[in-house]
Amino acid sequence: MLKQYSFEETAVQSFDAQTTLALKTEDLQVFYGANHAMHDANLGFPKNQITALIGASGSGKSTYLRSLNRMNDGIATVTGKIWYHGVNINEPNVNIYEIRKHIGMVFQRPNPFSKSIRENIVYALKANGVKSKADLDERVEKSLRGAALWDEVKDTLDKSALSLSGGQQQRLCIARSIAMAPDVLLLDEPCSALDPISTVKVEETLLELQKQYTIIIVTHNMQQAARVSSQCAFFHLGHVMEYTPTGTMFSNPQIPVTQDYIAGSFG
């Protein structure tokens, strides 16, 4: 039986004016019909850092993440504010296609298109009017290098992306996202379908990528959060309970619910 924890007792950090934030949410709420899936999420994401969102299944972390680049449009009702470069992007008249170019997303299950490796990466570029072959080739190489996949696939760029291993497919999806040169990269449990060795590769890639991108990663795996993230937010039943630097979260959790989750009492 899951213990009842008070949703009043939270420990959510906010950042001072010196910290540059890439993205920030204010009182973000998500409803699936009558189901209130996310309550008042007030989180800021420091630029060029990896922030991990952890919590049990159904805690709302994926729902929250998907709201950030408006992937919940048409699926759920999202209220509250999402600040990006001083603009609230959670408004109906905002161009969602522009948002998604700047805030990229990688999904739980590797989902390359059934096209060649090259076509997967240039897909979005072509859709945005990049035509020159030289430009496209350059972006392909750059993004594959960024996702640490270049050396493995440089000779087989025209082979089907579906012939790659699961880990390679996931890194291709990361490459596909960064080809659009986004600011922020959202990752929804990117390693949950991967074996440990592929997971290590993806994690190394992320640690390298944080120099250029702000990364927000949802993970089930607390060790993964500890390994890659600088900030860590703990979600519980649709509430953000604790948000602290990762070191603090794992060595000195502030409130009982986090202590129990970190200790493995539930989840």
């Binding site: 296609y97 170019k101 298109f113 096209k115 897909y123 945005n128 579906l162 659009m180």
Partner: protein, 317 residues
């Protein structure tokens, strides 16, 4: 605790008993046999029916060439169809059949794809509630009704619009268009629904617009399914007899334009089969037309299988 026998590969005192127990038939094994027997019987019966139909049509159809000594080439390319006087050039009907088939498919496919996109991507709810029943209804209407509407509405309309009798390829195309539309649409809908959701998500997350996602990802990965749908539609158009016969005019002459009377393999078959005597050239000639129809449907079938196989290779992951 009993003594453990580690040497299982050597017979012991109880082996005979176990041998009997493990080999005798029970209710379960007998049910297996009966079930398997019934399945094989049914499969055998179906194979027998199909094989004998193939044999029957083929043997009757080649009689024109073996007994009446008409050359195959002349039959396929000759343009004079007058079996009573010994002229059997089937080219007018072959051309007529292909003309109405391709024309109907070309006209119907854009409508079908548009409807299918609306039903799956644009408005899935209204699509399912409104359009699905409409399409199912269109499939269920007997072809004689389509023919009758064609005769009562389309033919006079064409007569009024372009002059002439109103009978002809264009009227047949119009009727076939309505008849193949539901076939192509419903199969296209199935293939669009089969496109994995995560393709769509991946594309949208990259900032692609709805239209880009539909045209470059969804339609692209459903291509083999859509092609299959179009071929099924063509097979239906190619084989449709009654409705076509009622509006095409049934003149066994090479069609010169889209609005003069023409005929197809099927319309010639249905209108001619009652007037001929078994075993004579006119009768054999009709069987030869039937043979062409059979070969074409086998061809359509093979094409569908070929496309399905290629599509499968592409989607393997």
């Amino acid at each position: 605790m009993e003594q453990t026998n580690l040497q299982l590969n050597k017979p012991d005192s109880q082996t005979n008993e176990w041998d009997a127990r493990l080999h005798h038939a029970t209710r379960a094994t007998r049910e297996d046999w009966v079930g398997r027997g019934i399945s094989y019987l049914c499969i055998g019966a179906i194979i027998l029916v199909v094989a004998s139909m193939l044999w029957f049509i083929t043997s009757k159809g080649i009689a024109t060439f073996t007994q009446n000594h008409v050359s195959v080439l002349k039959f396929l390319t000759g343009t004079n169809w007058a079996p009573d006087t010994g002229h059997i050039g089937a080219a007018p009907m072959i051309v007529g059949s292909f003309a109405v088939t391709f024309a109907a498919a070309i006209v119907a496919t854009p409508f079908a794809i548009g409807t299918a996109i609306f039903m799956t991507e644009i408005s899935p709810n209204r699509g399912r509630k409104l359009l699905q029943p409409v399409i199912e209804l269109l499939v269920g209407i007997p072809s004689v009704v389509y023919g009758f509407i064609g005769l009562a509405v389309v033919v006079p309309f064409m007569r009024h619009l372009v002059g002439g009798s109103g009978f002809g390829i264009i009227s047949a195309t119009f009727v076939l268009f309505v008849m193949v539309l539901p076939t192509i649409t419903s199969m296209t809908v199935d293939s669009l629904r089969a496109v994995p959701r995560y393709y769509k998500e991946a594309s949208l997350a990259l900032g692609a617009t709805r239209w880009q996602t539909i045209s470059r990802v969804i339609l692209r990965s459903a291509t083999s399914g859509i092609l299959t749908a179009v071929i099924f539609g063509m097979a239906r158009a190619f084989g449709e007899a009654l409705a076509v016969q009622m509006v095409i005019g049934n003149a066994a002459v090479m069609p010169k334009n889209l609005i003069s009377a023409a005929s197809t393999l099927t319309s010639q078959l249905t209108s001619g089969i009652g007037d001929t005597i078994d075993g004579t050239l006119p009768n054999n000639a009709l069987w030869s037309l039937a043979l062409i129809l059979l070969l074409m449907s086998l061809f359509f079938n093979a094409l569908v299988r070929f496309i399905a196989k290629r599509g499968q290779l592409k989607h393997e992951r």
